[in-house]
Structure formats: C-alpha cells, structure tokens
C-alpha cells in the first residue's frame, strides 16, 4: 500500500484506486510507447487456437510472433504405432474443413510406397471428392474472412452451400465431417447414383449462389477497403518462404500440383490455374472464388467421364476385401485378418507424395522399414507453412487488419499443429 500524501487523501477512494500505479499508464508521447498484445489462443478471429504476440506502436503493428502447438496431438508419433490402415481416420482430423482430400492424399502416398495401381473409376471418384472438398473449404474461407471484417451475411450463405456438399458426403460414406472415405487401393464404397443427382443439382445452383456472394462482397465498400492493399506478401518472399496454395497464386506464381505434378486423372481434365498479382487479402479472396468455379467445371467433366468398373484394386496382400465377401468367403476372411493384424507389407524405402489441397501443398513423407507400420510419417502441412508468412504480411499494418490477414491465409490449426 503506497503512502498517500495529504492531497491524495482528499480524493475519493475510487479515484485513487484508478490512479494506482498498476492501472494507470502514463503516456508522454503515444507514438513512443510500444505495447505487447497477446492475441489468442482463445480468440474468435484466429480460426482455432492460433496465438499471436503482437508488438504495437499505437495502432500500428511493429512485429508479430505466431505461437503454434495448442492443438498438437502428436499424429506423427501415433502413426508410428498404428498400421497404415489405422491411420486413415486420423487424417480426417488434420484439415478438418476438407477431411476427404486428406484421406486421398494419405492413401496416394501409401499407394506410391507400396506400388498399388488403383482402378480408373476410383481415380475419378477421388477427383470428385477432392474437388467437392476444395469447394467446401473455400466456401468456409470466403465466409469466415468476410465475417472477420464484419459481414456476417456471407458466412450464412456460404455455410448453406457447404451444407449441400456435406449432405453428399453423408450419402456417399455415412459421415458429414470425419469421412475416412478413401482406402489404400481405392475407396470405402462405390459412388452412389443418388450422389450424381445431388451433385448435379448442387452444380446447377452453385454458379448463381456464388455470383451472389461475389456481388455482395465485391461491390461492398467496407469489405474492399478493409482487404485491399492489406497483408501484402511480395512474390519473391512467398517463394523463399515456401508458401503454397491460393496465397502463392495470389502473388502471381502459377504453381498448382494438379497441373505441375499431375496425380489421379488431373492430366485428363481441363482447368485453369488462377493467378493474380496484387498479393493482398482481397486477391486471395478472389483467387479462392475463381478456384471454386474451376472446381465446379472439373466436377462436371469428371462426372461425365467417370467410367464403370471396380472402385477398389484387387490386390489381396495390400487392399482390404469387401465386407460382404469377408463374411461369406474363407479366403477373404483370412486376408482381412492378416491385413488388420499385420498390415500391408510395403518394401523398404521412402516416398513423398504431395497433393494440392485447398490450403496448399499437403504432402506425406513415409519411411518404411518393410513392416506394417510406418517407421516415420511426416505430414507436410500447408497451413503451418503459410502461417510462417504472417510476420512479413502484418508488419506495418493496422491492428484491425490482423483479422483480415489471418482470414485471407485461411489456416486450419488442426493441420498446422498436427
């Protein structure tokens, strides 16, 4: 308790408490005083549990230090203790806005390691689900970015559209979020004809609904003013930092693994790689909008070109047999028993398979020692990598721009923290 002078004792007790040293900040010159602000991990605009330490000079951001790890669940360690099949459900929990494309990315890496060739129909189904996941994820990105800068309406509209995709997932594999749809060597079950009708109906309405979103935001003075020239990342910085996905393409680098390193059947499909050169938050928003249109076009082409045939490879040593056969036939029962208990037997070696997920390059690096468990599995997560550009993007911005820039990066912390 500080000793009070006679003058102080005349003041009311509330006033003297307010003027206590701990609560009163003396500002001689506001611009000379720097302040450290802790933002997150519990903050609605950080899209999960991202924590930022912000050094402020008045309202100007001087420096930012992102802190990760609040959602670290040790998936790479879990992978070493589980068989290749057992790890598929864990991939749902990485980028939980597009779980189905994580399943596909993981299975592609295991198939590359084990040398499994999957049937043509399975490839087309995988393209379909990956592009649906991209649309669903970009819808959330666009909606939540608009919400972060104050336009709540768009979030409701984009979530309404995303709901239609989740309904298709529901029919396809019985789950809306944690799909676990891909299997090593194919898929959990065949493409349902009901899904074709649902997807066609969705695509018919989608163009108009997306245009509504685009018109509402693109002509909105507040949205454009808050996103334009904010969070600029120079082209060479983006390359040197290893940034991928829509952020890199908004900086003018036409890198898209679907075209540059084609996997599945992307080399047979016709689509454009969207690039813009402004490299600000608004450009990233527009790249995502344009990519959704390209994805819709890919979906139409893939639906039309999808051949009939098996949806899972016939390779008893590596691919799980169909359930009804396990219950009725001896050989399949033994195969299933061996695969569940021992796992597949890939050769000794190491592979990396990168895919273009909605956030950027999602890759799996697997070191195999020839047993049924991965010796080491590394998840190359695009969100964590893209977040490393945050200090550069935010330097010199205003404090209110932070939420717009985080929204434009579209990080998913489940993937960034692994």
């Amino acid at each position: 308790m500080p000793v009070r002078s006679a003058e102080d004792s005349k003041k009311s007790r509330i006033l003297s408490a307010l003027e206590d040293q701990d609560t009163t900040v003396m500002l001689d010159d506001a611009l000379e005083n720097e302040m450290i602000l802790n933002m997150g991990p519990q903050h609605p605009a950080t899209h999960g549990v991202l924590r930022l330490l912000v050094r402020l000079d008045g309202e100007t951001v001087m420096a930012v230090v992102p802190e990760l790890g609040y959602l670290h669940r040790g998936y790479e360690k879990i992978a070493e203790a589980s068989t290749y099949h057992e790890f598929i459900p864990h991939t749902d929990r990485l980028d939980y806005l597009s779980p189905i494309s994580n399943n596909v990315a993981y299975c592609l890496a295991v198939e590359k390691l084990a040398g499994i060739e999957i049937p043509e129909r399975a490839k087309y189904i995988r393209v379909l689900v990956c592009e649906m996941a991209r649309i669903a994820s970009h819808l959330v990105a666009a909606g939540s970015m608009a919400m972060d800068v104050g336009a709540l309406t768009v979030l409701l509209w984009t979530f309404r559209e995303r709901e239609k995709i989740l309904d298709i997932y529901d029919v396809l594999c019985g789950a809306r979020f944690t799909t676990s749809y891909a299997r090593i060597g194919g898929l959990q079950q065949d493409w349902d004809e009901r899904c074709t009708a649902m997807l066609e109906r969705f695509l018919g309405e989608f163009r108009g609904d997306l245009l509504e979103v685009e018109n509402l935001l693109g002509t909105n003075r507040i949205f454009v003013d808050r996103c334009e020239n904010v969070g600029i990342l120079r082209r060479e910085d983006a390359i040197a930092l290893g940034i991928t996905g829509p952020i890199l393409r908004a900086a003018g680098v036409p890198r898209d693994l679907r075209r540059d390193r084609p996997y599945l059947v992307y080399d047979k499909l016709d689509f454009n790689v969207i690039t813009l050169t402004e490299s600000d938050a608004l450009a990233r928003f527009y790249v995502r909008i344009a990519e959704m249109k390209e994805s819709a076009s890919i979906l139409r082409q893939a639906l039309a070109a999808m051949p009939a045939g098996p949806y899972r490879a016939d390779d008893p040593k590596k691919v799980v047999p169909r359930k009804e056969r396990i219950y009725t036939r001896m050989e399949e029962l033994i195969q299933d028993f061996m695969l569940v208990n021992m796992g597949i037997d890939p050769p000794v070696g190491e592979v990396y398979q990168g895919t273009e997920s909605s956030k950027g390059e999602l890759g799996f690096y697997i070191v195999s020692d020839g047993t049924g468990h991965p010796w080491r599995l590394k998840i190359r997560s695009p969100s964590a990598n893209n977040l490393s550009a945050l200090p550069l993007m935010l330097k010199g911005c205003m404090i209110s721009d932070i939420v717009a820039v985080i929204g434009s990066i579209d990080p998913v912390m489940g993937e960034a923290d692994k």
Partner: protein
C-alpha cells in the same frame, strides 16, 4: 535428374556427395553434413536446377548405433517442376547441422520443428525455439526412445 543433381554438387563441391538413389521416382542425394548449407545454396542458385522452394525439412530417428538421425530436405524447383531430396546423417554425439535459413527463410519453422521433435541443433539458426511442445519440456517426442503414451509428469502443469 539423379545424375544431374549429384554431378552438379560433386563438380562444385568435391567430396560433398555420399550417395544418390532413386525409389519410386523420388531422387534422394545424401550429402556430407557440414556441406549442407553450401549444397543448398548451389542447388538454389544453379540456373539449370533452380531449386527455389524448400517444401519441407524433417528429421528421422533411424534407431542405428551410428549416424542415428537423418535430416531430410525436400526441395522443389518452380521452373523444372521437380522435387529433389537432400539428406544428411547426424550422429547422436554431435547433433549439430548447419542451418539453411540463410538460403531459404522458409526453413526457419521446419528447422524449429525438427529441433523440437528430435533435438537436432541447427547451428546459426536465428530463433531456435521449440515449435509445438512447451519450452519447459525436456524430451524430444519423436525419438524412438520416447514412449508413445508419453512420460508421466513430463509436461509442466500450472501451479495451484
């Protein structure tokens, strides 16, 4: 691809390449540990190769008595649309590897993660802190001698 990368490195840095291999179309070049930063600089600046992006850096605990750890650098060339993997072998008794943050600033967080998970020290790194685990944590969780279920009382809890 395998021949070009290994040849270029051998030409510019004699004795730096230990071996080169290819598996399922992925090229891996093993480089001597102390040459890694120079080798990365050469691969980035060479006009034919132009590996201008670092996609990933990761550690592997091979569980061997000698040269127990591997650090793998996954690089990408925007112009040639090619990947290459560089690999260095690290002994348990000397866990120091030169940093490549001077070549690609994007290596910063990857090297922090490798330090966090394996305890590999990147000499010259500007900010070598733990990436995911708390600073007070004493173990390196992705080493093979760290149990999957964790070590009781290893994570500091807030005091009452």
């Amino acid at each position: 691809m395998k021949a070009t990368v290994a040849e270029k490195l051998e030409q510019r840095l004699p004795g730096s390449v230990r071996c080169a291999s290819e598996f399922r179309g992925d090229v891996t070049v093993t480089v001597r540990c102390e040459e890694i930063a120079r080798a990365c600089g050469i691969l980035r600046d060479d006009p034919d190769l132009a590996f201008d992006m670092v996609i990933d850096i990761l550690g592997v605990d091979m569980g061997r008595p000698e040269e127990r750890f591997e650090v793998v650098y996954n690089l990408y060339s925007l112009r040639n649309r090619e990947y290459v993997r560089l690999k260095v072998l690290v002994d348990e008794h000397d866990l120091t590897v030169p940093t490549v943050t001077g070549v690609w600033p994007g290596a910063n967080w990857h090297e922090r993660e490798t330090y966090d998970m394996f305890g590999i020290v990147f000499a010259g790194h500007p900010d070598l802190r733990r990436m995911y685990m708390p600073e007070e944590f004493e173990y390196f969780p992705l080493r093979k001698d760290f149990p999957t279920m964790g070590i009781p009382d290893s994570l500091p809890l807030p005091r009452r």
